[in-house]
Symmetry: none
Subunit: 213 residues, 4 copies
């Protein structure tokens, strides 16, 4: 008996018969030569917003970190185990990616938890509470302003993306390479319902829909 | 001017014309009703091993954490920002997934760094060094044992997956739900070159190729 | 010499040769039988957001009030000259319209003035300052919350539409007829740049894009 | 379910497929650069007399106030919410329009109400009664003069336009700019039945049909 959910095995069979079969040469050379993606994406764990799907990306294209609500904890060289910082360091210093995209999305459960912290933590460790505490001040600043719950949610999703892009710059290597023009930072927000992708204007911070020719 | 790498925009156009166009109803209902994935995958950031690709998964199917070398730091309710623990808590307690898969892969850069720590850290913060420190004892235990470098690499990739599955059980909620039969834990290892998926036998810890009908 | 800007005369010639010529019977019967529009629209004076254009409406279809920022001052039977209240009374009690739409739009100059009141009033009477004072509390509630200027603008445009719809209900005749199911109230927001129309969900207050078959 | 009357949605679909589609560049640049109409029109809410239709005007051309019977309450810097004064101030001081047109029309319901005030107000607030009180002295002056009802109606419609143009001059900024030749004031009257536009001769006050080349 194979110890893997049947749905995954069925999907894997499709992969082997389809994509792998069509791209086996690419996979072989990616294995032999190593990966050299030019883009890092910091995305959410959400099952509806996989970067490879949204950007129709093939093997070797995107180096992807996914955590709840696509956060970038600020630079903290304190000897702790910082998963996102480690991935960032690896992407920038070892893979030498040329762009980093923080991609958020609508109806994000983590952002929702930041806006409406439950009286009871999800578990005694309260990991979501602590993790989303990274955007708690921004959530607080949005309270009591007459927006609907859905409007506040979208507003915080976008405010948070601007924060995470700013946090990227708290890493000296990111700041230096961006200054030299060798690394660009981007924000994007995906609307699950309509499929729309909104891209952050780096000057104003506004999210705008790209012109798709 | 849209501030996003052209390759991503081109991919997004494909997504809209292809997958989104074909599945817009599914996206709309996933937006309206919320996500309810039954599987969480803890995978690596590597650009060659996206879970959605390998399992041919559509929107709403997989809740995915990705960090360097698909690690699960052990339960530590210390008030720090633990990204992977937060995702785990959210998947188990809020989404109530019924299975968790730790998926590693061959030629993993993080595992390579654990086996061959560079004299110089990648950056002053040494985030990769600290992060991969989570498997340092296992890497140490493999040294001087006559295996080739490639053999040691594969060995540590698989040892690490067993470790991470064990770390999952350090979370009380995971342990309790697994005990009640409401949550199953899995390990898997993907061979980038051949496309082969090896699945961990929960009793022996061995990795075996599933029978694909 | 005709005392009317030449551009208007040229436009009028087009009207006579085009629309009037094609619909002279309709105009004649609308003159003879009187108007009987079923919809009242409360819209902004903005030159980019004419309701007849956006709803492609012909003669006799829309009873239209236009003031700066499409406001509905609340019911105040104080004997003053209330232009919008008069139009509302006429539409509801005399024309017996069956629906009222408050239509706002993006980049509204009035809303912008509410968010960024100039130190100097536009003229000694400060009519814009007084008029937009109707949404000043809502503008105040949005300050200091980390949104960009453009995001705050859109947020207030939509908050204001919800306010104006609520103000409609401060008129006893509106409230009574709505309660009897003979009058429906609607909010809409027009995006000048993309042409998108967002419609207010009467239950949540959120603005959503209608499905256009 | 979209909460908007179906007729409006259908019209909006026509707009998107027609005018917006043909003029999307113009809409985009009007959004980006802001509006700069050169003409303000003060018109009636009547569904049969939309200025954009009669002057065949495109987006960005006309800044339009619409109230019942196209009135201009005289300058009253009393701190009340004066919608029409606010629009006038905005058009003149902020947009710097170069002409203002007061456009009345035949069979105007508001003028009819001024001539034949109902014993019972339309609603307890009697907003139409109060609003049309602005032309009550003129209506009174027309009584008992042997004209037919229809003649009296047309007469008051035109007397009122002359009044409103005079009221425009009660605003200091209008008077000053007109004196400097930077602002022109106009009257016009539209015949719904025949489509004829009659333009006020600024010297005699008579309404005349313009020569259409």
């Amino acid at each position: 008996m194979t110890h893997l959910p049947e749905r995954l095995l069925a999907g894997y069979r499709n992969f082997m018969a389809g994509r792998y079969s069509a791209e086996s040469d690419r996979y072989r050379s990616l294995a032999k030569d190593g990966q050299s993606p030019t883009t890092m994406v910091i995305a959410c764990c959400d099952s509806r917003a996989a970067p490879e799907t949204i950007f129709d990306a093939g093997p070797g294209e995107l180096f992807v970190v996914r955590n709840v609500a696509n956060l970038v904890p600020p630079y903290a060289p304190d000897g702790q185990h910082h998963g996102t910082s480690a991935a960032l360091e690896f992407a920038v210093q070892s893979l030498k990616v040329s762009s980093i995209v923080v991609m958020g999305h609508g109806r994000c459960g983590g952002i929702g938890a930041a806006l409406n912290p439950s009286a009871e933590p999800l578990s005694p460790g309260d990991f979501i509470g602590k993790w989303m505490g990274l955007v708690a001040p921004a959530a607080e600043a949005l309270s009591g302003n007459l927006m609907t719950a859905a409007e506040r949610q979208t507003a915080l999703e976008r405010i948070s993306i601007r924060y995470q892009v700013a946090n990227l710059r708290s890493f000296p290597c990111v700041k230096i390479l961006e200054g030299k023009g060798r690394l660009t930072l981007h924000g994007a927000w995906f609307d699950i319902s309509t499929g729309e992708l909104w891209v952050m204007n780096p000057e104003t911070g506004d999210f705008e829909r790209p012109q798709l020719k």
